[in-house]
Amino acid sequence: MRKWGLFLPEPSSLFDKLWNSHVVTALPGGGALVAIDRVFLHERTGASALNSLAQAGRPVADPARVFAVTDHIVDTRPGRTDKTLMPGGQAFITETRAAANAAGITLFDVNDPDQGIVHVISPELGIVLPGCTLVAPDSHTCTQGAFGALAWGIGSSEAEHAMATGTLRLNKPKSMRVCFFGTLAKGVTPKDMIMTVIARHGAAGGKGHAVEFAGEAVSALDMEGRMTLCNMATEFSAMSGFIAPDAKTFEYLEGRRYAPKGSDWDQAVESWTQLASDTGTAFDTEIKIDAGGITPMVSWGTSPENSVGISGAVPDDAGKRALEYMALDKGQRLAGTSIDAAFIGSCTNSRLSDLRRASALLKGKKIASHVKAICVPGSSRVKREAEAEGIDAIFREAGFEWRESGCSMCFYAGGESFDAGSRVVSTTNRNFESRQGPGVKTHIASPETVVASALAGVIADVRELL
């Protein structure tokens, strides 16, 4: 049976097991050469990494373990082709395709049935697995830590390094455990859990740490909720976030295309079962949060740490720059603030369960007439499955646009965006200045809060709908 690393101290943490089992050799200066099991590229940066490798005459060491997808700038309007609204965007798609083919790696192309946002399709295809290391030149790669993997975002040069050598040179981060005890109240979601952590402990609170999410409120989440929780570990400045795998993890993965099969599967599950922090493990930092005390959250400023409970107000110590940008005042209540747009999508909240919960609240209702509302399924599979359940019809009848899958208006690449200066309630993960378009004011929140706000035309408390 797999030993999760030699010389592991007893007791040891999930993170120690993930780390130690991948150390190829120690490096002078205290770092380690760490084996990388999976690399995932996207078309925004994939071509430059692959081309740069090719130009240096360095082959991809094991192309079978490298994947690429078109998600970031691909058009999400119906009937799409390689053309995108981003000026020059088409070249990113065609060059990534050419470079992926030349390198012999698997590409999930524009109209592939398995296309979708990288962090949505990797689990759908069983590419991420418990106990594996997975990197992508994308900061939200931590999403995939939900499967008990060590998954994190890297730069393009590191992606080249991982592809050329099957390893990365790393310094071991410190360990943190964020424990959620108790149970979530109605209308409160994993998005609110992670926003609470960041609001209380700061956007740099997880800096230098690998963060394990644990506790009964985390175990109670389904896999999609766990992905939402881990997604924003990067907004907490953590190297990654992850959750010990359990029966739900195995059930989700069994039968997925790249997941182990037959006797490999049995052997894998047996070893994955040991992937948990041993009782009595000490962490460099430990945070405890009462899940029952969490309320729906909404951001008011331009960092995810600028977030409060939905019935809260802009704090008195709010920064001037953020207030000016968001056109809000100190002490102003968030609920009741008029919005121009609503967005449901992104690697944080675009999976089938997100769309099911949102559509259940929307069913038979109409959104406020002044609100432009868009729903972008996280993958082509999510879109098909949602359509099979009639979810698309509910969204459309309520007044939402229903799109092809991709990152879409989660971020502004120079193409499509919300109107300059407009106020958007969004299920995305970043409320930075101009993240969703020039001058766009983003309030991040759960799908439930976005739906409640779209219906009311103002930032609204979903609990009033329940």
Binding site: R2, V24, T25, L27, P28, G29, G30, G31, L33, A35, R44, T45, A47, S48, N51, S52, A56, A64, R65, M86, G88, A91, F92, E95, L129, G131, P137, D138, S139, G153, I154, G155, S156, S157, E158, H161, A164, T165, G166, T167, R169, P173, A203, A204, S237, M239, D264, W265, A268, S271, F411, Y412, A413, G414, R430, F432, E433, S434, R435, P438
Partner: protein, 205 residues
């Protein structure tokens, strides 16, 4: 391969704001090609020009101040380089001519991207940075002794891990370093394959 960096003397350009994210360093809309160059016009585009997407210089922004035209060093705020992992932010800084950033803290992916592209991310506390800003005179960075100084009386040391230091000083390429360990990697993979065969995917998945 990055240019080696041993010592550097330059007037530092102050841009002391906390949480400067990579979207501010180079907005996504300014990444117009798949290459690593042609990015200088996009550097700090959101702050540098009077209009989004425009090219008319906003003279209030420090990058447009002729006093700092030759600056190779930036004085920054905490959590410098947070946000998206896009390496274009660092490529744009390199292409523009910056060789060092001094800040109280850096986002980890950004700091690692800096080192790989020959930019020193030097961690110095905010009080010292304020002194350097106020002095508004050239400073000297000596990477071998890990010192930054305005003059003999006013200098500070900064931490940097051994490997990052060696890579910067010698302009080394990390991939070449690691490829020298190809035998270790192959041995490790062989042992791992026996234990986790499912990690090693075949061609017909």
């Amino acid at each position: 391969m990055a240019k080696p960096l041993t010592t550097l003397t330059s007037l530092p350009m102050p841009l002391i704001r906390d949480n400067i994210d990579t979207d501010q360093i180079i907005p996504s809309r300014e990444m117009k090609s798949t290459g690593k160059t042609g990015l200088t016009d996009g550097l700090f585009a959101g702050w540098r020009y009077t209009e989004i997407g425009g090219r008319k210089a906003d003279l209030d922004f420090v990058l447009n101040d002729p006093h700092y035209t030759d600056s190779q060093i930036i004085l920054g705020g905490t959590n410098f380089g947070c946000g998206s992992s896009r390496e274009h932010a660092v490529w744009a800084l390199v292409e523009y001519g910056f060789r060092a950033i001094i800040a109280p803290s850096f986002a980890p992916i950004f700091a690692s991207n800096c080192v790989r592209n020959g930019i020193l991310p030097a961690i110095i506390d905010a009080d010292a940075i304020a002194i350097m800003e106020k002095a508004d005179s050239p400073i000297t960075i000596d990477l071998s002794t890990q010192k930054i100084g305005i003059d003999e009386d006013q200098s500070w040391t900064f931490p940097i891990d051994e490997e990052a230091k060696a890579m910067l000083i010698e302009g080394l390429d990390a991939i070449d370093l690691s490829l020298k360990m190809a035998d270790d990697i192959a041995t490790w993979q062989e042992a791992d394959r026996a234990q986790r065969p499912w990690i090693y995917l075949g061609a017909n998945q």
